[in-house]
């Protein structure tokens, strides 16, 4: 039981890196980027192909970042230079990546049993779970700080403003092609990095492991916002990671309660729908109640006045 929960938190942390990438595209750039389903696998594929060729697993994992960045760059160029709608650009790259990922892997499934970066982590002298948790927390924090710092640079501010008003950025001399392309490249680099780590954590890379990953990322970002709030960049990043962990915990609970693994994707979709609708429904209800109270108060005054 405890092990299952620790496992959920560990996986949640790794998905947290994906969630921060999705936060960058979906929230900061205001760009729903469907590249994610492909670039998540690209990261795992690049890592495992290099790993099979005897490259050090650390270098293989870092190279995964590059694979994701290339994918994001492609989507960015299609939508900026090519003027293809954002959603469509992402879908096109995602579907193209499926074939490319297969080519990189050479087959549809690669087992990663020993010699990955998880081995030295497990060998740390704190016991398996504590070692893994500590390492993952440090890793996620490091990624978060890098992204936070980037979004605080002069270029990063322009990236953030692009999501608000591209017209303003251009009027102030910023290049919105550059901000969108670089933003999506970094976002997908994070996603691919997450994919490479998840593959090693679960012990295999499968060409289908990216299906629904954008929804997982969105779930993390949205759940995080609802539960923890995201008033600024660093809180937004932290909330995305927190959301990813909560999401994995909910899934772990659901599986424990007897959810069939084949129904996981459906459960994921339902969770996102609830996370999207619940806050809106709650505020609407609050507004309605306030309105009722205001009406009551106004009528009450009237009555008092008449009496007086």
């Amino acid at each position: 039981m405890i092990a299952a929960f620790l496992g959920a938190i560990e996986l949640g942390l790794l998905y947290g890196i994906l969630a921060m990438g999705v936060y960058l595209s979906f929230r900061v750039l205001d760009f729903p980027d469907l590249t994610v389903d492909g670039s998540f696998v690209t990261g795992a594929a690049v890592m495992s192909a290099l790993f099979l060729h005897g490259v050090s697993p650390w270098i293989a994992t870092l190279t995964a970042l590059l694979g994701g960045a290339v994918a994001g760059t492609l989507t960015g160029l299609l939508t900026t230079k090519g003027h293809i709608q954002g959603l469509l650009s992402g879908i096109l790259v995602q579907i193209g990546l499926y074939s490319i990922n297969l080519r990189i892997m050479g087959r549809s499934n690669i087992p990663l049993l020993a010699g990955t970066v998880m081995d030295p982590i497990a060998a740390l002298p704190f016991g398996l779970h504590v070692s893994t948790l500590l390492t993952f927390v440090a890793l996620v924090a490091f990624c978060g700080v890098i992204l936070w710092a980037f979004l605080g640079t002069a270029f990063g501010l322009a990236v953030r403003a692009t999501g608000d008003s591209p017209q303003m950025v251009r009027a102030l001399g910023g290049h919105t092609t550059a901000t969108v392309v670089v933003g999506l490249a970094i976002s997908n680099a994070f996603v691919a990095f997450s994919g490479a780590l998840v593959a090693q954590y679960q012990g295999f890379t499968d060409v289908t492991m990216g299906i629904g990953m954008i929804v997982v990322g969105l779930a993390a970002v949205i759940i995080g916002e609802v539960l923890f709030g995201a008033p600024n960049v660093w809180r937004g990043l932290a909330a995305a990671v927190g959301g990813a962990i909560v999401f994995r915990l909910v899934i772990a609970l659901a599986l424990r309660a007897g959810l069939a693994p084949t129904d996981l994707k459906l459960a994921t979709a339902v969770i996102v729908v609830v996370a999207l609708l619940l806050p809106r429904w709650l505020t609407q209800r609050r507004q309605r109640q306030n309105l009722q109270q205001a009406v009551d108060a106004a009528l009450q005054e009237k009555a008092d006045a008449q009496v007086g």
Binding site: F150, G152, T153, A154, F155, G156, L157, A158, R160, A161, G163, D164, S165, Q167, M168, V169, R170, A171, L172, G173, G174, H175, T176
Partner: protein, 264 residues
């Protein structure tokens, strides 16, 4: 300092919806000119400003700024010299970012945006001084999200963002139209002051004829993409709204009430 030579712009060229938004316009601005632009809806005022700013290239003609031909330069490149304020308060600022962050982006107009910190101590101080000078108390709200400001405050901020690096040219497109009268008056006052202090060459589109007569040293009236007439100097100082309407009537052979010319 700015020349438009025979500049034309069409929309939906070659279709049944074809519109000649700007037709063979020639216009030369001297350093320090403050031109007000009036004209009915669809006259081509915004298109003219967009052409100068480089939102889209003209279909015909040349645009020269300070001796450089900028006709084919893209908007971001021209922006190093051109400040803009739009009609929509939401367009000129980033609502989810703070006042300080918005200004930090504005202060880097015309500079490379690299991986240096977007906001450092020196810049923050500069921003505080500039905001204090606006006189709206915004210097105490550096960390406030711009989306929480009122329309008037946002337009004042956009005006500061457009002028804080002393651009060569300031383009204002009905930047007070979305504000209530008192806020509009405030932003107009601010505009006058900033333009005068920095001797900015300015083009201001307005639907308010009295304002167009009171502000600036030149006035042009656009109609159907053409400059219908221009007045300047003492002639402009003497002119009244009635004179403008009569001139329009004579030149166009159509009678038009002030309301029609101002707003439809």
């Amino acid at each position: 300092m700015l020349q438009l030579e025979n500049v034309s712009k069409l929309f939906f060229t070659g279709t049944v919806n074809q519109r000649v938004a700007v037709r063979k316009i020639n216009l030369t601005l001297e350093d320090g000119d403050f031109v007000t632009v009036i004209g009915s809806n669809g006259a081509g005022k915004s298109t003219l400003l967009n052409l100068i700013a480089g939102v889209y290239p003209p279909d015909r003609g040349r645009i020269v700024l300070d001796g450089k031909e900028i006709t084919s330069w893209e908007e971001a490149r021209r922006a190093a010299w051109i400040g803009r304020v739009f009609q929509d308060p939401a367009a000129g600022t980033a609502p989810r970012m703070t006042i300080a962050e918005n200004l930090a982006i504005a202060y880097r107009r015309g500079q490379r945006r690299g991986l240096q910190w977007g906001l450092n101590k020196a810049l923050r101080e500069q921003i505080e001084v500039a905001l204090a000078d606006l006189g709206l108390g915004l210097e105490h709200r550096l960390q406030t999200k711009v989306g929480l400001l009122s329309g008037g405050e946002r337009q004042a901020l956009t005006l500061l963002m457009a002028t804080c690096t002393q651009p060569r040219l300031l383009l204002l497109d009905e930047h007070t139209a979305a504000l209530d009268p008192s806020k509009a008056a405030l932003v107009t006052q601010l505009t006058e002051r900033l333009v005068a202090e920095q001797r900015l060459t300015t083009v201001m589109v307005t639907h308010n004829m009295e304002q167009a007569l009171r502000l600036g040293n030149r006035l042009i009236m656009l109609h159907s993409g053409r400059i219908l007439f221009e007045i300047q100097g003492s002639e402009k100082r003497r002119a009244t709204v009635r004179d403008l309407l009569e001139a329009f009537h004579q030149l166009q052979g159509e009678t038009m009430t002030e309301d029609e010319l101002l707003m439809n």
